[in-house]
């Protein structure tokens, strides 16, 4: 089989799994100093799938794309420490403040610039925004088929790929033609560790930084100006133990709980 060009979309995110009381600023924005920046967990699962594709098809290359401030180059390096070949950091004041639409525009411009990829893999969603929109939007902008919620690559043949994806209540096996974009679930295999030799060889690697102009993007569609999403208000809500309520497993208790949740619009 001919070697593949594989791209991984990865994001540096604040570690929202360890949120303390100082996680939010008073104005409702995230206090980045209180939350360590990490490789978005599901993007790590995506990286593993990309590296497995490379293992299946020797000679293939894996390229990491990330967008963010200068320090987000750590994401590219982290990918390279685990087996990716190279990567690009999209960094420019004009990229800042992007919602999912502007982000997918920026990423698709970079992917076009870097050449035609056979397989683009990203995590299902990032733990800061939880939108799960960027992957599908990139596919749409590049005119590629997409398979979301991927858990495992079952087969790779010339020009097509077979995948297992998670669906509500079960799994589904799908076949897709290449080129294709995949988004990967956290239930997929964990990423392999950093490799000692790769870390030593690449610790001082230069990461290519691309600006809006470098990827031939339209500044009006990037960053804040390209983002129709407007954040009206963010509340910091801490649940307290006194708000808890104990229910038994009787039909009556469950019915009254569900009714209460529907009435106060928690569900439904």
């Amino acid at each position: 089989m001919k070697s593949l060009k594989i791209a991984v979309l990865a994001k540096q995110v604040p570690d929202t799994r360890n949120v303390g009381k100082d996680a939010m600023n008073e104005d409702g924005t995230i206090n980045r100093a209180a939350l360590p920046a990490i490789f978005n967990p599901e993007d790590m699962n995506a990286l593993e799938q990309a590296l497995r594709l490379k293992d299946m098809c020797p000679g293939s290359t894996v390229t990491v794309f990330t967008m963010g401030p200068e320090r987000a180059k750590e994401i590219v390096l982290e990918g390279m420490f685990r087996g990716a070949d190279t990567g690009y950091l999209l960094t420019d004041r004009l990229f800042a403040g992007a919602d999912t639409l502007a982000t997918s525009y920026a990423l698709s411009s970079a992917l076009r610039k870097a050449g035609s990829f056979d397989i683009i893999v990203g995590g299902r969603q990032a733990i800061d925004g939880d939108t799960a929109q960027v992957g599908p939007q990139v596919a749409q902008k590049l005119g590629l088929p997409q398979v979301t919620y991927v858990e495992e690559i079952l087969a790779l043949e010339e020009g097509k790929i077979t995948l297992r994806r998670a669906i509500t209540g079960g799994v589904e096996t799908v076949e897709a033609p290449l080129p294709v974009l995949l988004t990967v679930n956290g239930t997929a295999a964990a990423c392999r560790p950093r490799n000692a030799k790769l870390v030593m060889a690449r610790k001082k690697a230069e990461v290519t930084a691309w600006s809006v102009a470098d990827v031939d993007a339209d500044p009006a569609q990037c960053g804040l100006s390209g983002s129709p999403t407007k954040v009206k208000k963010v509340d910091s809500i801490s649940f307290q133990a006194k708000e808890s309520k104990r229910c038994t497993s009787s039909d009556e208790d469950i019915r009254s709980l569900v009714e209460e949740l529907i009435t106060n619009h928690t569900i439904g």
Partner: protein, 567 residues
């Protein structure tokens, strides 16, 4: 979170000034930088590499091996069809370590290794052992490759070490049903098969850690008619050749992360490693020294786990209206665990540094003649390493046992239940003072350095180093301990009775160990008082009392009382 980054006490030991010298010796002028993209260009670059690799180990230990450890302990390995099978968690641990490239940390780059010193391998072993001591056994057996490297031919190195670098595992097949501590009685038979132009092995080995490994180093009797160590040679058995089956695996008290196998050799094809007759007296001795250092590191890892478990439980458990770490009886136990851990650590890394210096010089000697100064240095550190290795193995393993015991004690009744990790630590720790030579055999190896003054002059030398003024009284305390140790040694040797010396040997060796470990810990505490000074003081108070106790015993005893101990 990362165990390596969260334990500055480890990194501190790696910042020893000797490390720069070790890097220079290991890297022979940094020539590898021209050939390998991962080779360092200077000392600083190499030290940074060590740090980064240990960060990988810290991550894997905390996030892969530790979470798997309970399952591994419960499931354990299995045996069927003449083969041993790892517990699923063990297999995963091994695969992750292979992916991370950690299966040949010390081997030269030309075979695919990382060319790192033993000191770094010890730090990796400590971290892994904190997560699962049994898995550390398995991964630690990569040090067999060092023996193969030292004594094998170029061709053997090319064929076998490369495979270890690619992730294959090793074992050292020494023990037999009738040859445990007494390896001179090894009976596994090696005969030369003229027709096939190879050696054939026949017989049984027992208690072989990771005995179903890919590449075995085997001690066997090649000289017909001999009965002692001089008739034994070392062989390499390659599993790909076949001929060895696993008859059973042991149902052990602890370290379920590695299968312990009984092996049957049935005309197994093997090749000689090194010269005939030197198997035990030269090669296995070298192998054992490396293995003993490995057990010292394993013991430190177990002590480190015991400390963490004790600290977190005592800070959480409330009795009589407060958390139990507020009670003197409890915080004394925790402080003692930490003091014994830190004393073990200081000794472990000092020993590893000495090993690195002489082994690196020996390696340089394979390429060129050493200068007279280098020869002198090699000899000096080789002797010091030989002296410290049995102390490190003996004391760290005994301390690991004591620490695991106290860790359960701090947990009270809960610690007796399998719900808490301390219960496993207690079982895992127990073997450390037995295998690779019991504590009693470490005493046999160490006693000559008691009587020839090696330990005493080491301590004296350390006490002559200038430390800040506030350390003067602590140094004085060590001087008093040293004087008692010397007086006790003199009193025992003056009798000129071997049985008497053997009887008192453990006491004398422990006195030496307390002086050496006290001096080393004090030196390290002077570098980072915020991390270690309290532990150094706790240790010195304990060590002084131990030395006093042994001194008093020796003073008040005489050879006539030996008969009281005999049946």
């Amino acid at each position: 979170m990362n165990w390596y980054k969260d334990t500055p006490e480890i990194k501190l030991r790696l910042e020893n000034p000797l490390m720069k010298h070790i890097v220079e010796l290991k890297e022979h002028g940094f020539a590898d930088a021209l050939k390998y993209d991962y080779a360092p260009v200077d000392v600083e670059d190499a030290l940074d590499n060590y740090d980064r690799v240990l960060e990988i180990v810290g991550d894997i230990s905390e996030n892969v091996i530790a979470p798997n450890s309970e399952g591994v302990d419960r499931t354990g390995p299995s045996c069927s069809g003449g083969r041993a099978h790892y517990a699923p968690g063990t297999a995963e641990n091994l695969e992750i370590c292979r992916q991370a490239g950690l299966t040949a940390i010390e081997m030269p780059r030309r075979y695919g290794g990382l060319n790192m010193p033993s000191t770094i391998f010890c730090a990796a072993s400590e971290l892994i052992s904190r997560a699962d001591a049994g898995f550390q056994n398995l991964l630690g057996l990569q040090s067999c490759a060092c023996t193969l490297y030292e004594f094998g031919t170029d061709d053997q190195r090319d064929r076998f070490i490369t495979r270890v670098c690619n992730g294959e595992t090793m074992s050292m097949d020494l023990t037999e049903p009738d040859a445990g501590s007494d390896l001179q009685s090894v009976a596994l038979k090696a005969t030369f098969d003229e027709a096939a132009n190879c050696w054939r092995l026949n017989g049984v080995k027992r208690f072989i850690t990771n005995g179903d490994s890919d590449i075995h180093l085997v001690l066997a009797r090649s000289e017909e008619g001999t009965t002692d160590g001089r008739g034994l040679s070392m062989f390499i058995y390659d599993k790909r050749e076949g001929g060895v089956t696993v008859r059973r695996i042991e149902d052990k008290m602890g370290i379920h992360g590695s299968p312990t196998c009984e092996l049957v050799y049935n005309n197994a094809k093997a090749e000689l490693c090194g010269d005939r007759r030197l198997g035990l007296i030269k090669y296995v001795m070298s192998l054992m020294n490396a293995a003993r250092l490995g057990i010292a590191a394993q013991s430190v890892g177990i002590s480190s786990a015991a400390l963490q478990e004790a600290l977190s439980y005592a800070a959480d458990r409330k009795q009589f209206g407060k958390t139990i770490d507020n009670f003197p009886a409890v915080y004394e136990m925790i402080a003692m665990i930490k003091a014994k851990l830190e004393a073990s650590r200081s000794l472990l890394y000092e020993t590893a540094n000495f090993v690195d210096i002489y082994k690196s010089l020996e390696d340089i000697a394979r390429e060129r003649t050493l200068t007279p100064e280098e020869r002198q240095e090699c000899k000096r550190y080789s002797r010091l390493a030989d002296a410290l290795t049995p102390l490190a193995k003996g004391m760290s393993s005994e301390f690991a046992n004591q620490n695991a015991y106290d860790c359960i004690q701090i947990h009270g009744g809960s610690g007796f239940m399998r719900d808490y990790l301390c219960e496993r630590l207690y079982r895992d720790a127990r073997i450390t003072s037995i295998y690779e030579g019991t504590t009693q055999l470490q005493v046999v190896a160490a006693i000559r350095y008691v009587t020839n003054e090696t330990y005493a002059s080491m301590v004296e030398e350390m006490l002559s180093e200038a430390l800040p003024a506030e350390f003067a009284s602590r140094q004085e305390r060590l001087r008093e301990m040293l004087a008692k140790f010397r007086a006790a040694t003199e009193a025992v040797t003056a009798v000129k009775d071997q049985d008497w010396l053997d009887f008192q040997a453990r006491r004398l060796v422990e006195m030496a160990a307390h002086c050496v470990m006290g001096a080393l810990l004090l030196r390290d505490a002077a570098k980072a008082p915020e991390l270690l000074l309290k532990s150094a003081d706790v240790y010195l108070a304990y060590a002084a009392a131990q030395v006093e106790g042994h001194s008093s015993f020796i003073k008040s005893s005489d050879p006539a009382m030996l008969s009281n101990y005999q049946a």
